[in-house]
């Protein structure tokens, strides 16, 4: 009996090891020590740096005093996807970056402490929140990602009847499908989904608005609609060879690794990842862990212009990912069987000119074309906008970015609010999970104000987030 070459075999065991959560959580002792290091600042800068304004000193004090339920409640009260955010937030840029101990000694490991408390809640099975008394109003939420879940959670706690329409079979959005498992295991967002389900929110999965349920139906059946459908897969590069076998969509690639061993052939292959954002890094590190022989990220600009976070870039380097800077893909070349064999690229140089986004414009160096021999190409140059859905809802938009009133999230249709990646456009900060959570909450509060006539005072401090 013939065995496949071990080099080209990707075993379930390799998958388990490669895709298990990479960073270990804190031990109890570690959590106690770290939580006791927190100064418990007054009017703490970490709270202000958190888009969802988690009372960080308070949740940390609760860890220090062995009140993990209270700690998890404090976190999840402000952020319905706080367990996922504990793992995926760019904490260096947010809470930990704002910690007053940055220059004095070392910032508190807020992300890890948040994970410690929320892990406790996940493992204990405790239900942290209760639904509000039914107020007779109904809200439809389109999309069960971080923004939609946050809006639904807040509305359910206030007594709204909420139905989430989720196109995929599992809710959780990118947290469930689009972030590599070794950073965010799928069980975490699914717990958050479950918590929200326990508040009486009905989550109808496999339901595409405009296909399985009509817009007219939604508008007739619900007092308000929250549009939180996010974005789609990666758009085409627009170069030759994109249909070849061995060309992958980065979001789709990550998604296939979330539920089990993907039916991809990357083991022993040379992989080029096109793009340099956080998803590109995810796709690259994913490829490494799927056994790729070599992974190169191909980017037409330089490290200074890349949109991936520094810690992601560092992680990719540690994983052995290589970088081809100032390199523009021109064509994907395949063999007679339609399999990728090479990526034709051209060298770029930065001109003194700057584009609309302020970044220097790269231009090709004449005659610098070269062939990069690869067997797989992963495209990670952003995500498609959901223009069809937006237009089906009859909303004003700008190239697929829904136009909203920034304070309330209200769209051009007064019955419809929008939150999350579907309103994310260039120059509007970063498409972070935690921002989506904030926007989802903001939309929920705006709906409460509109439908219940709730006063600002009853909504409490959330209004400060909305105005921010």
């Amino acid at each position: 009996m013939e065995h496949a070459s071990p080099l080209n075999t990707f075993t379930p065991d390799m998958f388990m090891r490669g895709f298990a959560e990479a960073e270990p959580g804190l031990t109890r002792k570690g959590a106690i020590e770290e939580s006791n290091r927190c100064l418990y600042c007054y009017d703490a800068p970490c709270i202000k740096a958190c888009p969802t304004s988690i009372n960080i000193p308070s949740f940390i004090k609760r860890i220090a005093t062995d009140n993990l339920k209270g700690s998890a409640q404090t976190i999840m009260d402000s952020n319905p996807v706080g367990a996922s955010c504990a793992r995926v937030c760019p904490t260096e840029e947010l809470c930990e970056g704002a910690c007053v101990l940055n220059d004095a000694s070392a910032p508190i490991q807020i992300g890890l402490l948040q994970r410690y408390a929320t892990d406790w809640a996940i493992n204990s099975g405790v239900q942290l929140f209760k639904p509000g008394l039914p107020n007779g109003k109904r809200v439809a939420v389109i999309g069960g990602g971080p923004a939609g879940l946050s809006a639904a959670r807040e509305l359910a706690r206030e007594g709204f009847g909420v139905v989430i329409y989720e196109a995929k079979e599992l809710a959780g959005g990118l947290d469930t499908h689009g972030i590599v498992s070794f950073r965010l295991p799928q069980s975490i967002p699914l717990w958050e989904v479950e918590q929200i389900g326990k508040l009486g929110v009905e989550i109808r999965t496999g339901m595409k608005v405009g296909v399985d349920v009509s817009v007219e139906e939604l508008k007739a059946d619900y007092d308000a609609i929250v549009l939180a459908a996010g974005m789609g897969y990666v758009p085409p590069l627009g170069i030759e060879g994109e249909k070849l076998s061995g060309v992958y969509d980065a979001i789709g690639l990550v998604e296939t690794t979330k539920t089990g061993i993907p039916a991809l052939e990357l083991t022993g292959r040379r992989v080029a990842v096109i793009g340099a954002g956080n998803t590109a890094i995810d796709a690259a590190t994913c490829s490494v862990r799927l056994g790729a022989a070599n992974v190169k990220m191909v980017y037409r600009r330089t490290p200074a212009e890349m949109t991936a976070y520094d810690f992601e870039y560092e992680f990719a380097k540690q994983e052995g990912v290589e970088f081809s800077w100032l390199t523009l893909p021109k064509r994907i070349i395949g063999d007679e069987l339609g399999n990728v064999t090479a990526l034709e690229c051209v060298q770029m140089k930065l001109t003194g000119e700057r584009g609309k986004d302020g970044r220097p414009t790269p231009v090709p160096v004449e005659g610098s074309e070269f062939l990069m021999p690869v067997e797989a190409v992963v495209v990670a140059i952003g995500q498609k906008r959901r223009v069809d859905l937006i237009e089906a809802l009859g909303l004003e938009h700008e190239r697929g970015v829904v136009k909203i009133d920034e304070a309330t999230g209200r769209t051009s249709d007064p019955q419809i609010y929008a939150a999350g990646d579907i309103v994310f456009g260039s120059g509007k900060g970063e498409a972070m999970v935690v921002s989506a959570a904030r926007q989802g909450k903001a939309a929920a509060y705006a709906i409460m104000k509109q439908l219940l006539g709730m006063q600002d005072s009853a909504l409490g401090s959330i209004l400060t987030y909305i105005s921010r």
Binding site: I32, E33, S35, N36, L39, Y40, C41, Y42, D43, A44, P45, A64, V100, L101, D103, A104
Partner: protein
Amino acid sequence: MADLRIDLAGIKSPNPFWLASAPPTNTGYQVQRAFEAGWGGAVWKTLGDPIINTSSRFAAVHFNGQRVAGFNNIELITDRPLEVNLREIYETKKRFPDHAVVASLMVEPKQEKWHEIVKRVEAVGVDGLELNFGCPHGMAERGMGAASGQQPDLVEAQTYWVKEVAATPVIVKLTPNITDITVVARHAVKGGADAISLINTINSLAGVDIHSWNTIPNVGGQGAHGGYCGPAVKPIALSMVAECARDRGVGVPISGIGGISTWQDVVEFMLMGSTGIQVCTAVMHHGFRIVEEMLDGLNNYLDDKGLASVTELTGKSVPKYSNWGDLDLNYKVVARINEENCINCNKCHIACEDASHQCIDMLTNADGKAFLHVREEDCVGCNLCSIVCPADGAIDMVALDSGVAPMTWNQRQKVISGLNSSYSEAEVV
């Protein structure tokens, strides 16, 4: 390197570091290990009629993730036969003739009992005696330890009986479980004590287990009060040492005890009037080796201060310790925040706002940067902000010239009563 030798009422030791009478001085093996590690002296675990101890004896108070802020025990005096202890004392002294070996003693308050034990322990060559009138638990229920230490006349009488036969210096160890420790100290001196040592442990219950509702520690579900020591008791011990040191009716050398864990603690106890010091909890926590860092730190400190002998420290701060009525009411300090060192945690603001005099404002400068500012005219100089401030050098308490001559409460009352009497005289006329 400074001279670390001390002479406490005639008991000489190579350095001021003695082990207190406690579990670490239970056996010759332990005391000899301690001397090898660098300890200058040891007060042997209290001798007397051997007792029976409970199992489950110690407990500690942990604070904010740090182990052993305070320590509690319900262990009694030695549970080993007197002959065994005496033999080991003899062997230890023979091996370490220059180290101080002091026997701690506790017997019933009877003259013949004291005479007998003093003679027996002096026969094996101890350098001095320490009378345990302080142990607050167990033995006190049998009329010994703190029970006799809380009766000044009994302290005096027992000290007197010991002095009738003792050839070596006698130290009386005082209990803090009393209203005014100087009263007992004076009676000990009246009875002939050559020195006093303080403090013994403080009555304590280390805690209650909030899940089982048992006391901490508990013996088969039942608890009893213990004796408290360790870092948490240091301020209490230091004030009692200081009170005895400044009391003219006491006037004998002091062996300072209570929560000493670092060389800095040693310096403080000596400045406040101790000739030597005793340590237990720090050894319980870390082992005998902790003396190495204490010795080294003390040495470097003395060198830095240009002091040739550790004895130069003794009592230097005592004149600076008096009564509240002698404090200058016209002295004024205010808090000043150094923005370059401030980390903007706002702890000072909320402490002042909620617990003091509402004089620290949270402001924003023209560039939008947050800063904290003290309204000095409203600052009472309480120090709270500088206490809670976690950043080095961010808050200084600065003395201001009040422009007024010093005036203490006592002086003020004297002036007022003078005025009143002249008024009343005038009225009479």
